[in-house]
């Protein structure tokens, strides 16, 4: 018996020491390289995506300046085009709410809808507001701009004349300028932070704990998919969480024919990130998908990566059925909205339950003991 336990200890010690001795001789990567995944995320996806969004935010800000300097139908249409492009571009960064973005609650600052138009009007009238206050999140960002460039009147002529003739036209111009400037400023802040050093600490933090980059990113990504995409863009307006549908809660409600495009962009962006697709071309690198494939090679379980991709495709197909104007879709035939919700919901389960279990990541890491 004594011998047995010594053998046991010896075996375990041998197991421990083996890694030191042969680690350099054995092929270096029989395991998955989480570091490489983080590098791919940061260098090929997150930073380039923020960079291109920043360019769009600059154009938006410039277009807003041009419009407020001389409100014409031409400058309005140019501003609207910039807003549209930037809003689409934003869908691709919204899921990266990590680091500085998390700190400044970036998504809340840029895309809380529906906007509180009363609050916006009051701010403009009072000419005093602090957009950094949490209470102002429903009076800024893309939805507030939507109101100011699409929602003030029925036609472009009326909107332009509003900015020329309204008693407080200057107040509206100032507010619009502040909104586009704030978007640019916040985005610059985040991008600078990535470039200044956050990228390095993000990539280096391969640990699997509450603060590890993979765990945090996975949680942020799934939170985005579940709350902002599935619930925000589809579920809430379709009335899934309320007794009645709430068509006025769709994204970009004043632009009207734009909400579907935003949704499709967001689904595509989520899937691309899952597959580790570079932001600028079709190359793919290490990602949740390849990580799952690796773990599956140990586990011999279901091919989760393919299942998730299939579900992304199903959601995309279903969403393509929708009217360009989701509010109209809800009012005419809400069942298609609900079906889209269901397809997205199926992927929430695959991501949140199956993928997180496979990666051994806790949902919003619970800081407590286990046994």
């Amino acid at each position: 018996m004594k011998l047995w336990s010594f053998i046991c200890i010896g075996f375990l010690l041998f197991a421990c020491s083996k890694d030191d001795g042969t680690g350099t001789i054995a092929p270096p990567k029989s395991g998955f390289d989480r570091g490489a995944m983080l590098v791919n995320w940061a260098d090929n996806i997150i930073v380039p995506t923020y960079t291109s969004f920043k360019t769009e935010a600059e154009s938006l800000n410039n277009a807003a300046t041009a419009f407020t300097n001389g409100p014409t139908e031409a400058t309005l249409q140019s501003l609207r085009a910039s807003w549209t492009t930037a809003y689409i571009s934003f869908q691709k960064v919204s899921m990266f709410e990590i680091g500085k973005a998390e700190e400044i609650r970036y998504r809340n600052r840029l895309n809380i809808y529906p906007s509180n138009t009363e609050k916006i009007e009051n701010f403009i009238a009072a000419e005093s507001y602090d957009l950094a206050l949490p209470s102002t999140i429903d009076a800024q960002g893309f939805p507030a701009i939507d109101y100011l460039i699409n929602g003030l009147a029925g036609t472009d002529i009326e909107i332009v004349s509003f900015y020329n003739t309204n008693g407080n036209a200057q107040g509206y111009k100032n507010y619009l300028g502040t909104l586009t400037e704030t978007i640019l400023q916040l985005t610059t802040m985040i991008l600078d932070d990535w470039n200044a050093g956050f990228r390095d600490s993000f990539v280096a933090n391969t640990s699997s704990s509450a603060t590890g980059s993979v765990d945090k990113m996975a949680n942020d990504y799934i939170f985005y998919f579940e709350k902002s995409l599935r619930a925000g863009k589809v579920g809430i307006p379709a009335g899934v969480f309320s007794e009645q549908p709430l068509p006025e809660n769709v994204e970009a409600r004043y632009k009207e024919d734009f909400s579907k495009q935003l949704l499709l962009t967001a689904i595509k962006a989520s899937q691309d990130f899952f597959n580790g697709k570079y932001s600028n071309n079709n190359t793919t690198g290490e990602s949740f998908k390849t990580y799952l494939d690796f773990l599956n090679s140990i586990k011999n379980g279901e091919d989760l990566g393919s299942l998730i991709n299939a579900q992304f495709n199903a959601a995309d197909t279903q969403a393509n059925e929708l009217n360009d104007n989701l509010a109209l879709q809800i009012e005419t035939d809400n069942t298609k909205m609900l079906s889209t919700y269901d397809e997205l919901q199926r992927n929430v389960i695959l991501l949140k339950v199956d993928m997180l279990q496979a990666l051994s990541i806790n949902v919003d890491y619970v800081d407590a003991d286990g046994d």
């Binding site: 680690g23 395991g31 969480f241 003991d369």
Partner: protein, 454 residues
Amino acid sequence: MVSRINAYRNKTTDAAPLAAFRILFGLMMFVGIVRFWSYGWIDKFYIQPKFFFSYYGFEWVRPLGGYTYLLFFICGIAAICVALGYRYRIAIILFFLSFTYIELMDKTTYLNHYYFISCLSFLMIFLPANAYFSLDAHRDRDKAYGQVPRWTVDAIKLLIALVYLYAGLAKLNSDWLIRAMPLKIWLPAQYDLPLLGNLMQREWLHYAFSWGGAAYDLAIPFLLFYKPTRWSAFALVVFFHLMTRILFPIGMFPYVMIVSALVFFDAGVHHKILKTLSTIFRIKKEKADARIRNKTYRNKTRTPMLIVGLFIAFQLLFPWRYLLYKNELFWTEEGYRFSWRVMLMEKAGYAQFKIVDKKKEAAFLVDNTDFLSTFQEKQMSTQPDFILQYAHFLGKHFTAQGHKNVAVYVESYVALNGRLSQPYIDPKVNLLEQEESFGAKDWILEFKDEIKGF
């Protein structure tokens, strides 16, 4: 048989192991309470949540608002008194009651090792752990004894042995041994562990740890009981528990088990431990030794031994209650808790509740974060009794809000030990029509796989 029991009852042993155990246990518990408090967990687990999951039959045990801190304070003071052996009997009763009350407040935080502490402290109520090297013995010469009934020390050993043995038996199942689950999920995540990180991704290691862990649990009680292997067994205990400490977030438990295993040693070792403590705290051990001479503690009645005997018998039987349920234990968790099933499952779930107006056929979904902490939601989504209790809570909540004819349905999915998630609770069952009981829960959907073994 009766004469053998009587003979055993009269056997005595040195009081030192019991004294050392009492001191170390009390100190550990005190540190545990301080640790829990300092992490802000009292607030996070027992004050902030709006809703608490109670144990069946213990619905009256609830957190006490701000007084919950007082409860922990009492528990901590009681632990110190136990360590000091100051008014020991009252202290250990108070500790048992306050600690158990804390554990019963919300089953979200259920851990086998908390249950182990409750069991151990209950047992200690009936043991003369203050006979030696205690303030009680110091204050009253008549309460000092050098010898205690042998069964009192054996009872602790037996409880510890039982925990290991049952934990080992529970590992003898196909998921653990054949699929190396859930270690195959948990270990690769230890990616950045110094030296071991890369090794954690090797399949053979997952099997080695699974089989090694099961063998360890099954063998260690015998290796500790058997004198020739005792020291190497203790070395194994230290190694095993430190290893689990490195790999998993299991708090104080490894240290509690390491310290508890000391009780298996002969009195000589404990006298050395007490001697060391004496030096640290500048106590004269000789003084305590002089008081006891050859005095032997004797129970005035047979009651303590009887209660402890019944308690051990209960512990032997209770974990087998799962056999009374026909469903897969890991899936339905009927009879899962309080059975030393440690680290056996990786379960993840998702539960989406739907509130339906039965007459209008209108429905809406519930956002769980409105009512539950992330920890509670995580625990709720994989355990049927949590789901049922929460459904009833939702029913009451929305009825009070003015909704009429409320029915509560849940669409839920659970993934168990790396299997693809499957539907969990029957989505067509109005959970308000179901009541908690010890009966089988037929509204849990069938597990589409089989796990063989204990």
